[in-house]
C-alpha cells in the first residue's frame, strides 16, 4: 500500500522523494513534464496548462515539448523568433516579478477572482491505500524549483505514515523538488487564500519593498486571454512604458505583426508603441480616477501615474480618430 502513495505527489518518483535534490531545476522540469499525462478530466485546465507553461520561474522553456507550449498564440515555442523569445522571457520576468518563486501564485492570479476558487484548484485528498492514477492530481505543485527547506517526502497519507515520517525526519535538511499540495491543507479559508494571493502579487518582493509604495496597474489588451500588471513606478516616461508594454504584449500580436512584416521585434525603439500598437491598430488608453477612459500621452508623466488606475490596449476600431492624434502627442512628448 505504501509505494503508490508516493505517486500522488506529481513528479516525485520514489527515487527523487528520497534522494537529496541537488539539481532542483532538472527535477522541477521533469515534474513539469509530468503534468501533462496526469492532468485529466479536469475542466478549465487547458488554459491553466498553457499558463503554467508560460515562464514558470526557474523552468526552462526549451524543455517544453512542441504542442504543449504556448499554443495559445497559435505558435509553437520552438519556432519562435527572437521577438517571441523576448516575449516569453518577458512573460517569465513578469511572472517571476509577480510571484514569490512559486508557480502556484501565478495560477491563482489567472483564475477568476471568484471566491469559490478553491473548487477550481486541481487538488486531491490523499486517502489511504488507493491507486492514485484515476484521482485528480495536483497540477499546481510541481514547479517549486530552487526551494531550500524541507524534503518533500513528508506525506499525509494515512497508512504509511510511520515509515514516511521517519524518512522525512531524516531528510528534513534537504530541499524538496516539489511538494504536493493537499486539499484543504494548511487549513486556511478560501477567502484568505485568495486575498493573500492577490496581495502578494502586488507586493512582489517583500525584501525589495522600501520607501514609497509600488503602483501596480492592470493592463488589458483587447483579444488577449489574460491581463498583465505593470508597476508604473518602474518607468520614468511614456517611452519606457510603451516599450515595456510592447514586450509584454507583442506575443499577442505576433499574428498581425507577421502579416505586416514586423515579425522581427528587435529590442526597443522609439517607434515601438506606434509601430506595434498603431500599425496593428491598437491604441493605449487608461482609466483615470474618475473612471473615464483617456488616451495615454496627453498629460505629463507624473500626473499620469498619479491618476492612472488601469491601462487598456484598445483596438483602433474602437478608438476611431484617436490614433493619429496619439501619435502626434506621443511624438511631442518624446
Amino acid at each position: 500500500m505504501s509505494p503508490p502513495q508516493e505517486q500522488y505527489y506529481i513528479g516525485l518518483s520514489e527515487a527523487s522523494s528520497v534522494e537529496r535534490n541537488s539539481d532542483k531545476i532538472s527535477s522541477s522540469s521533469s515534474s513539469s513534464s509530468n503534468i501533462c499525462p496526469e492532468d485529466e478530466g479536469n475542466n478549465a485546465l487547458n488554459l491553466k496548462e498553457t499558463e503554467l507553461r508560460l515562464g514558470l520561474p526557474g523552468s526552462q522553456s526549451p524543455e517544453r515539448k512542441a504542442g504543449h507550449g504556448v499554443s495559445l498564440f497559435g505558435k509553437d515555442l520552438e519556432e519562435k523568433t527572437s521577438g517571441f523569445k523576448s516575449c516569453v522571457s518577458g512573460a517569465k520576468r513578469g511572472f517571476s516579478d509577480a510571484i514569490d518563486g512559486s508557480g502556484k501564485w501565478d495560477l491563482r492570479m489567472k483564475v477568476s477572482s471568484d471566491v469559490s476558487f478553491g473548487k477550481t484548484e486541481v487538488l486531491f485528498s490523499p486517502g489511504g491505500g488507493k491507486d492514485g492514477a484515476s484521482k485528480n492530481i495536483n497540477t499546481l505543485q510541481s514547479c517549486l524549483p530552487g526551494l531550500p527547506g524541507k524534503e518533500a517526502g513528508a506525506p499525509p497519507a494515512a497508512k504509511p505514515v510511520e515509515e514516511k515520517n521517519t524518512s522525512s525526519a531524516k531528510d528534513h535538511g534537504s530541499s524538496p523538488a516539489s511538494k504536493a499540495q493537499v486539499v484543504g491543507w494548511p487549513p486556511i479559508r478560501s477567502f484568505r487564500k485568495n486575498t493573500l494571493a492577490t496581495n502578494l502579487s502586488k507586493n512582489s518582493d517583500a525584501e525589495a519593498k522600501s520607501g514609497p509604495s509600488c503602483l501596480y496597474v492592470k493592463v488589458s489588451m483587447d483579444g488577449a486571454p489574460y491581463l498583465r500588471k505593470v508597476d508604473l513606478k518602474t518607468y520614468c516616461n511614456y517611452a519606457e512604458l510603451s516599450s515595456a508594454l510592447e514586450k509584454m504584449f507583442s506575443c499577442f500580436t505576433i499574428g498581425q505583426c507577421t502579416s505586416n512584416g514586423l515579425s522581427e521585434q528587435e529590442g526597443l525603439n522609439e517607434r515601438g508603441l506606434k509601430d506595434l500598437l498603431h500599425d496593428s491598430e491598437h491604441v493605449l488608453t487608461y482609466e483615470d480616477k474618475d473612471g473615464d477612459w483617456m488616451l495615454v500621452g496627453d498629460v505629463p508623466w507624473e500626473m499620469f501615474i498619479c491618476s492612472c488606475k488601469r491601462l487598456r490596449i484598445m483596438r483602433g476600431s474602437e478608438a476611431i480618430g484617436l490614433a493619429p492624434r496619439a501619435m502626434q502627442k506621443f511624438k511631442n512628448q518624446s
Binding site: 514569490d100 489511504g128 488507493k130 527547506g149 506525506p155 525526519a169 493537499v182 487549513p187 486556511i188
Partner: protein, 594 residues
C-alpha cells in the same frame, strides 16, 4: 451542551438528588410562582447552557423556559428540524444556525452538500413573524431566500452571514431595499457571486437605523457617494468595515462623517496620498475617540501606517492579517498599541515582530498568526518557535492562540504553556504534515502532552506535526475540559482515537482527517457520540461495514457517508451527528445516510 434535542414536553427530570426531595411537592402543589413571574425571571437568563439546564428541572420550568426564550442557537442545523423548533419555542426573535461541518471551509465537503436555509425561513415566516435576527454560519443561502427573508419579516434587524455560499450581491440588494429597520448587515468570507456593488445604493434615502455594516470581503466596488451618504445619515453606526475598493482619501471622508465608530475595517491602504491628505487622515483617526477595533488594511503600505498612531492607544483588537508588513514596519506600529487584547497578523512580521508584541502588549489575550505563503516550503519565511516563545514570555494573559509555523520543538511548547497556563484555545499548525521536532527529530507528542497537562482550562485543541498515539493518550487522560479537537495527519493506530473517545468527558466536536484510525476506533465511541455534536472523519481507514454497524447500533445518530470513488467498501468521508429529526431528507446523491 445543546439539550435542544431532548424535546419531549413530558420530560420530568430532576437536576440532582436534592431536587428530588422537593420534587414530589412540586408535582402536587401548584407552582410556587405564577407562571408569569417564573417566565419573567427566566427571561433574564441569556446563556444557552443555563437555559438548557433550567429546562430540565421540571415540567413547569421547561414550559416557562420555552415561552420566555427569544434567542435560539442551533449548532448543527440537522440535529433538529424547523418543525420541532417551532413547536417548542413560540416566541423566537433571534436565530443562530450553523450548517456544514467545519472542514467545508477547507474544501473537504463537496458542493451542494446541503444546509440550506430556505425551509427554515419558510417555517420562521409562519411561526416567528417578528423575527429580528438571523446569524448563519456555513449555510447555503440563495438570493431567493434572502428576498424571502427581506419580505417576510417586517421588523427584521440583523443579518450575519459567515462562511456561507449560494447567494450573490443581488440577494443583498433585496435586504437593503426592504428591511426598513435593519441595524446589522455583516457579510463575512462567503463564497458568493459578487456581481456588482449596487446593493449598497439600494438602501433608501430615509434609512437611518444601521449600526453594523461589514462588507469587507465583497469584491465589487460600491458607489462611494452612496456609502458616504449612508454613513452620514446613520448616526448610530458603530461598526463599519469596507472593502478594498475604498481608498485612503475616501476613508478619511467616511471617518469625518462617523467619528463615533467603535470598529473600523479600512479599505485599501496603498493609495498615493499627498501629504496634506495624510495629515487630514491622521486627524480623522485622532477624532475617532471610541475606536477599539481596527481591521482591513489591505495591501497596507508602511508609509501610511503612521496615520493610525493617534488611534492606536485605545485599540483592543488589531487585525493585520491582510497586511504584509515586515518586522521592522510592524514593530514601529505595535509600539503604539499597549492596550491590545487581541492581535491577528501575518507571519511576514517574523519572529522579530512577535518579539515586539511580547514587549509592547502585556495585556494580550489572543494572538493569531497566519501564513503569508501557506504553500511555500521555504523555511526562511514566516515564524518559528522563537516568535511564539517571545509572545508567551511577554503576554502572560494569553489564552487563545492560532499559530501557523514551519517548525516547532517540544521544548518550546513546554515553556510556552509554563508561561501561559491559562490557554483555553490552543491551535498549532505546523504546516508540513507529519513534521517532527526539528531539533530532536522526535514526534511532537510531548508538546501537546505539556499543553493538556498544564492548561487545565483547555476547551479547544488543534494538533499537528509528527504525532504518535501517545499524544492522544495524553489528551484522553488530561484534557478534562476539552470540547473541540482537530486532528490531521497524526496517530499510529486505532488506539489513539480510542484514547480520546474514552477520555475527554466534555468532548463535543471531533474532526479528523488523514489519520490511520479505522473501524475499531470509530466504534469505540458508540456511546459517546450521543453526547457530542458531531464527528468528522475523512481519509481515514474506516469502511462501510464499520459505519453500517455504528448506524445500526445507534439509531439516534445520523451516519452520513461519502464514499470513495473506486473502492466500494472504503469510506472517504463520514460525518456522524446526533439528531432528533431523523435522517435528513435533503441529502444529495453522494451522501449516503446509513
Amino acid at each position: 451542551m445543546n439539550q435542544l434535542w431532548k424535546m419531549d414536553p413530558n420530560i420530568k427530570k430532576t437536576k440532582n438528588s436534592a431536587d428530588s426531595a422537593n420534587y414530589p411537592e412540586a408535582i402536587q402543589s401548584p407552582s410556587q410562582f405564577p407562571d408569569e413571574v417564573l417566565e419573567k425571571v427566566l427571561s433574564m437568563l441569556h446563556s444557552h447552557k443555563d437555559r438548557s439546564s433550567v429546562s430540565l428541572v421540571c415540567k413547569d420550568w421547561y414550559n416557562a423556559e420555552r415561552w420566555s426564550r427569544t434567542k435560539i442557537f442551533i449548532g448543527n442545523c440537522y440535529s433538529v428540524s424547523p418543525e420541532i423548533v417551532a413547536r417548542r419555542f413560540p416566541r423566537i426573535k433571534s436565530v443562530t444556525l450553523k450548517g456544514k461541518p467545519r472542514f467545508s471551509d477547507f474544501n473537504l465537503v463537496p458542493q451542494n452538500w446541503g444546509a440550506n436555509i430556505h425551509d427554515w425561513l419558510v417555517m420562521f415566516a409562519k411561526v416567528y413573524p417578528l423575527l429580528e435576527e438571523l446569524r448563519l454560519k456555513r449555510m447555503t443561502v440563495s438570493d431567493e431566500s434572502l428576498e424571502f427573508l427581506a419580505m417576510s419579516f417586517p421588523g427584521f434587524k440583523a443579518l450575519s452571514l459567515l462562511s456561507c455560499d449560494g447567494f450573490s450581491s443581488d440577494g443583498l440588494k433585496s435586504i437593503a431595499t426592504h428591511c426598513k429597520k435593519l441595524t446589522e448587515m455583516d457579510i463575512q468570507e462567503n463564497g458568493i457571486d459578487d456581481i456588482s456593488g449596487s446593493w449598497l445604493s439600494a438602501f433608501p434615502d430615509n434609512f437611518t437605523s444601521l449600526e453594523i455594516l461589514n462588507f469587507a470581503s465583497l469584491n465589487s466596488e460600491v458607489s462611494f457617494d452612496a456609502l458616504e451618504r449612508l454613513v452620514s445619515r446613520c448616526k448610530s453606526l458603530k461598526v463599519l468595515k469596507v472593502n478594498k475598493g475604498i481608498g485612503l482619501d475616501q476613508l478619511q471622508r467616511l471617518l469625518v462623517r462617523a467619528p463615533q465608530l467603535m470598529e473600523l475595517g479600512t479599505g485599501s491602504f496603498q493609495q498615493e496620498l499627498m501629504s496634506h491628505h495624510c495629515v487630514e487622515l491622521e486627524n480623522a483617526f485622532r477624532n475617532c475617540k471610541n475606536l477599539q477595533i481596527l481591521a482591513g488594511l489591505w495591501d497596507a503600505s508602511y508609509i501610511y501606517l503612521h496615520v493610525l498612531y493617534p488611534a492606536c492607544s485605545s485599540l483592543t483588537f488589531l487585525n493585520l492579517s491582510y497586511a504584509t508588513l515586515r518586522s521592522d514596519e510592524f514593530t514601529k506600529l505595535i509600539a503604539h498599541c499597549p492596550n491590545l487584547r487581541c492581535l491577528w497578523v501575518l507571519d511576514t512580521v517574523e519572529d522579530k515582530g512577535l518579539e515586539a508584541v511580547g514587549s509592547c502588549c502585556p495585556l494580550l489575550e489572543e494572538i493569531r498568526v497566519f501564513p503569508a505563503h501557506p504553500f511555500d516550503q521555504d523555511m526562511n519565511h514566516g515564524v518559528t518557535e522563537s516568535g511564539f516563545l517571545a509572545v508567551s514570555h511577554g503576554c502572560r494573559k494569553l489564552h487563545y492562540v492560532l499559530y501557523f509555523c514551519q517548525q516547532m520543538t517540544n521544548a518550546a511548547v513546554a515553556t510556552i504553556v509554563q508561561n501561559c497556563p491559562d490557554f483555553t484555545h490552543f491551535r498549532l499548525c505546523i504546516m508540513n504534515p507529519g513534521q517532527p521536532d526539528y531539533l530532536t527529530d522526535e514526534p511532537m507528542d510531548e508538546a501537546f502532552g505539556a499543553v493538556v497537562k498544564t492548561c487545565t482550562k483547555l476547551q479547544r485543541l488543534a494538533v499537528s506535526g509528527l504525532l504518535t498515539d501517545l499524544t492522544f493518550e495524553y489528551i484522553g487522560k488530561y484534557a478534562k475540559n476539552l470540547e473541540t479537537l482537530s486532528v490531521a495527519f497524526a496517530g499510529r493506530s486505532d488506539w489513539g482515537m480510542q484514547c480520546v473517545l474514552g477520555g475527554c468527558p466534555k468532548l463535543r466536536k471531533l474532526e479528523i482527517r488523514d489519520c490511520p484510525f479505522g473501524n475499531a476506533a470509530l466504534l469505540s465511541g458508540l456511546k459517546k457520540y450521543e453526547s457530542m455534536r458531531s464527528l468528522w472523519m475523512s481519509a481515514c481507514n474506516v469502511t462501510m461495514n464499520g459505519c453500517r454497524l455504528l448506524a445500526k447500533e445507534m439509531p439516534r445518530l445520523n451516519v452520513e457517508v461519502m464514499k470513495d470513488e473506486e473502492d466500494d467498501s472504503h469510506v472517504d468521508k463520514v460525518y456522524v451527528y446526533r439528531s432528533v429529526a431523523g435522517p435528513r431528507r435533503d441529502a444529495p446523491p453522494f451522501v449516503l445516510t446509513l
